[in-house]
Symmetry: C2
Subunit: 195 residues, 2 copies
Amino acid sequence: MEQINRLLMQMEFIREIDKLKYIQRKTKLFNSDRHENDAEHSWHLAMMVMVLAEYANEPVNVLRVLKMVLIHDIVEIDAGDIFLYDTVQNHTNTDAELVAAQRIFGLLPEEQCKDFTELWMEFEEGESADAKFAKVIDRLEPVLQNISNNGGTWTEYNVSFEKVFQTLDKMKISSSVLYAHVEEIIATFREGQNV
Amino acid sequence: MEQINRLLMQMEFIREIDKLKYIQRKTKLFNSDRHENDAEHSWHLAMMVMVLAEYANEPVNVLRVLKMVLIHDIVEIDAGDIFLYDTVQNHTNTDAELVAAQRIFGLLPEEQCKDFTELWMEFEEGESADAKFAKVIDRLEPVLQNISNNGGTWTEYNVSFEKVFQTLDKMKISSSVLYAHVEEIIATFREGQNV
């Protein structure tokens, strides 16, 4: 009986998170006009973690980083996507996100709720080696997308390269290789743009 | 120099797999008319693995199962989605999928290509405990979606419940708990339909 209740709670969570597929990001797919949604984004980050984990400056636990990127945006089902370069709202740790985490992870059995909430908070805080690398990957994808889209959200929302590099600042200490790559591709992009 | 080439290969792979977001499945999102794409599907399976791994009859390595479900459909970028209940084409192990795996995983550095190819083949063969459980999850998602959509692809393509249970057959030996759940929700659905 207890196992059945447990499974029903888990199934309810599995149905609920389907809504992540409707949360549109500001960024668009590569070479595309179609906006990316949070589920696609989370899958792509997971793939990038699998491929790029070797470039973390501190060793990371790939399983934990994968779990982090897979769940990191689930709170946006209730709280909505906040634009990385938003000048009014803070990108992370909003009250709305905390309430969302309690409601959505709260659908799960107690110890799974606790695991997911702690993992999500660790990601948000960005202090552990795993969280820092997860954030590197979360920052990297929109850079690649924007470059493929002739500036993408940088151009569309008039984001200065100073501001772009501010959001990439922590990448420098978490992955020197990926930071160097990003610096180089942005420089090449700016040369092409003559800015 | 070698590290730069390696990274450029990895970045090329990361850009290429963006195309998975355009591969439409026959099944639709929960309670929805919108078709699911392969990237969303792969993310959802990964979440289900995290939540449901405890129901594998044989112990599984969660990291390996996660990797399997994350990459399992990448070959469809070239080979296209083959409908689970297709009566002409075989669902798995088509020649087109093998050629696709060689091309797409072949974008990666050699040892990563080898890892991904082996993992994908292990999934396709479905013999190991990890692959069997990955396949349980791959079968489970469309069942939940079809029930939420008043029969979904079962109704749309006139798939008999005998055929549905054929595709679920291996779930029985790989996860008795999930199979029992699926049997029960399909029975309840059929009662509601009076079929």
